[in-house]
Amino acid sequence: MIRNLKEVKDNNFDITRSADEVRKLSFNDHVCLGCGICESTCPVEAITLNEIAIDSRNRLSNDIYFSGHEKIAQNFHDDFDVQRVTVNESKCVLCGMCSGLCPVDALVLTIDGVPIREIDAYPHYNAFSEIDDDECVYCKRCEVACPRDAIVIERVLPDRADLVTGEINVDDDECIYCGVCEELCPAEAIVVDKETGKESIVIDKDKCVYCLVCKKSCPTNAIKAICRACNYGEYDLDPSKAVVKGNSVIDSELCVFCGWCEGVCPTDAAKHKKPFKGSIEVDQDKCQACGACVDICGCNALAFPVSSGPGSRLDHIIAYDDYCVRCKACAKACPNDAITVKRTEIDHTPTNSATWTDALNAIKD
């Protein structure tokens, strides 16, 4: 009899089978959406989904109902010590079906250290998310919007001095060496010698900030100056002209392909593709606005409407169809069966295995 070894650490665990090949199934609770695809497809019924969503609803106070809290789910997972998924190690055969069908990287099977998503024989979802550095303006809107904190944008700001550019010249014929510009110059870049016969004006271009105070104060319009910085005119989103550089990283383990990054991106830098196509609908007649779905949703695709002032009752739930990954965790969590999620299309690489094909078809509506 070949036995599995289970190692539990915090809310994560590893199940290992060491024989000819070493198979290891790792569960990462902070990545799990609680969708239950693993539970429904496990061929040996080794997986149980824990109904923590229901518990979380009981923990929520009325204050939260009325305040329109946005990131309840995250705070809640920090101080809740139950795993979303339990795998019975004596039943598990480490076939990897849960890992292959998990829309995120919550369950990962590795064979001799290689995750199955890197092994061609196993089917993979054709889902991705990426940020094109050529298009990115490093505005960080995606970093803020990402419900999983999967995006890190590092921006490198240019030296301020490098942005202060312009031209300044004095027309000696016009200048009367009055010295008004020297007195007003905030950068002390102008020196005027007023002594008769030796009159001169010198502008130190290294000190000049092109504020144009001298030009505006000159009584004879002798100073010609232009600021290049403000000459750009209106805010320009052409990434090639952007002066801010940087780099962007999407943590592929945390990303759930919800598409918030693409939704908020002001340029065409962020792109994503979801593993499933489908729809989400909230039946407003059945919905009691308890917030269980808002808690469980890993994509912030469900929310209370923005509060219209203190004391206003948040009496319904809004579903953002664009940002839903069709994982169905909300539909499972909803005590009133008010949410209908449909997975109509699954985009995955082909597999020769009949059982795996059946399993993939089984999660389709």
């Binding site: 061929p43 055969v93 024989a121 020769n352 295995s353 059982t355 795996w356």
Partner: protein, 152 residues
């Protein structure tokens, strides 16, 4: 004693190979013993009939017991695989059904290294199968059927 039984099994293997028309040298290389020892075996010398009797009894056990006994007698798994393959009395056909999930338990369970995983499904080389059925015992989806081949 185990050494004597091992010699007995090697003797039986040598006889089988001889019947298959192999030369002494080929048999010696196959079994990893001296050519002169093979010659002695095949001329009925240097070996007690007792050892041969015990060895014959072991070979006639059910396939799993034969395999387990041979594994216990030979320290090298490679050698016991060879002896089992030469001495076993039946041939088997391994059928792997479509319900295979590709968990790889059978690959690890098979002492004869008969089964390999290819594109998420187990594939068996029936020629190597000793009929022990350890793989079908492990299979979580009962996808492996082992059939004994009968020759009329």
């Amino acid at each position: 004693m185990p050494k004597h039984i091992a010699s007995g099994l090697k003797y039986l293997a040598a006889v089988k190979l001889k019947d298959a028309g192999k030369s002494h040298q080929v048999i010696a290389d196959e079994l990893g013993v001296d050519r002169s020892t093979i010659s002695h075996y095949l001329n009925g010398r240097n070996l007690s009939w007792n050892s041969i009797d015990v060895a014959r009894t072991i070979v006639e056990l059910c396939p799993r017991d034969f395999l387990k006994m041979t594994e216990a007698i030979f320290e090298e798994p490679e050698q016991s695989r060879k002896i089992v393959n030469i001495c076993r009395e039946s041939n088997f056909e391994v059928i792997i059904e479509d319900s295979c999930i590709g968990c790889g338990l059978c690959v690890s369970a098979c002492p004869m290294k008969t089964i390999k995983l290819e594109s998420l499904t187990a594939h068996a080389d029936s020629i190597q199968c000793c009929g022990c059925q350890l793989c079908s015992d492990e299979c979580p989806t009962n996808s492996i059927k082992i059939l004994e081949i009968e020759y009329d």
